[in-house]
């Protein structure tokens, strides 16, 4: 199912990308991360990790909105069968009701 696979890929990305950014910052894998002081290292790594999570979320939302929406809503077949069965029962009960109403009016 395409929906499930997109969801799973987005979930896995959401987990791995911020943790990878964190470890990359702490172990100086990024080009600019060796020259910051200890205190601002946590600030930068935290903020970049949070931003990366939000970027993944935004990409998922964009790809979800682009999915073609099915214009014809097909109703659930079982629900449809139950509805039709209740309509077939209905004319019998309405006759009984209208005769009792006429009796009350008199």
């Amino acid at each position: 199912m395409e929906v499930m696979s997109k969801f799973l890929i987005a979930s896995i990305l959401m987990w791995t990308v911020p943790i990878a950014v964190l470890y990359g910052f702490n172990n100086n894998l990024f080009p600019g991360s060796a020259s910051v002081s200890q205190e601002s290292l946590t600030l930068w790594s935290g903020i970049l990790a949070v931003i990366s999570v939000n970027v993944v979320i935004v990409l998922y939302i964009i790809s979800a909105m682009k999915e073609p929406s099915s214009d014809k809503h097909e109703p659930d077949p079982r629900f449809l069968a139950d509805a039709k069965a209740s309509i077939k029962q209905q004319p019998g009960t309405t006759e009984v009701d209208s005769s009792s109403d006429r009796a009350k009016l008199e």
Binding site: F7, M14, L22, G46, A49, V50, H73
Partner: protein, 167 residues
């Protein structure tokens, strides 16, 4: 054995700051995952599951990810300090700063998860009724998930100053 003065202040001073830090790290990730799990399944009532219904689930998961990020950041802040300096005021301050940052993140993520879960369930139900309502409720949900973001930002800023004393 009767001590001369036993008060809360003395008791707090005798507890090692590492205790607070370790408990706090556990609280941050535990409580935020609890918040993410609340009402995460409420979006799957409509029989046609499209990706739009799963957006609220993604928001809930982001809340749990914030807790994990902060827990990892804080555990890199735990340095070892020599025995003589454990109860130094600077190290006490570092322990309390880490504890405070974790409580902030944990409880902000808890309420954010609750909020996003409730909004997400109503979003899925209203989308099943009328497809034009989806985008409007999604905007509300984005504001709701900003609550967790505020908690994470404040927690990271507080914990950035938590430095243990040099050896």
């Amino acid at each position: 054995m009767v001590t001369s003065s036993s008060s809360w202040a003395r008791a707090l001073l005798q507890i090692s700051p590492y205790t607070f830090s370790a408990i706090g790290i556990a609280i941050s990730i535990g409580v935020s995952v609890l918040g993410a799990a609340c009402l995460i399944g409420a979006a799957i009532k409509a029989p046609r599951i499209t990706s739009k219904n799963l957006i609220s689930v993604i928001f809930c998961e982001a809340v749990a990810i914030y807790g994990v990020i902060v827990a990892i950041i804080l555990q890199t802040k735990l340095d070892s300090v020599p025995q003589s300096k454990i109860y130094d005021p600077v190290s006490l301050r570092a322990g309390y700063a880490i504890f405070a940052s974790e409580i902030i993140v944990g409880f902000a993520n808890l309420v954010c998860g609750l909020c996003v879960g409730i909004i997400g369930s109503s979003c899925a139900l209203s989308d099943a009724q009328n497809s034009t309502l989806f985008v409007k409720i999604l905007v509300i949900e984005i504001f709701g998930s900003a609550l967790g973001l505020f908690g994470v930002i404040v927690g990271i800023i507080i914990s950035a100053q938590a430095t243990w004393p040099m050896k």
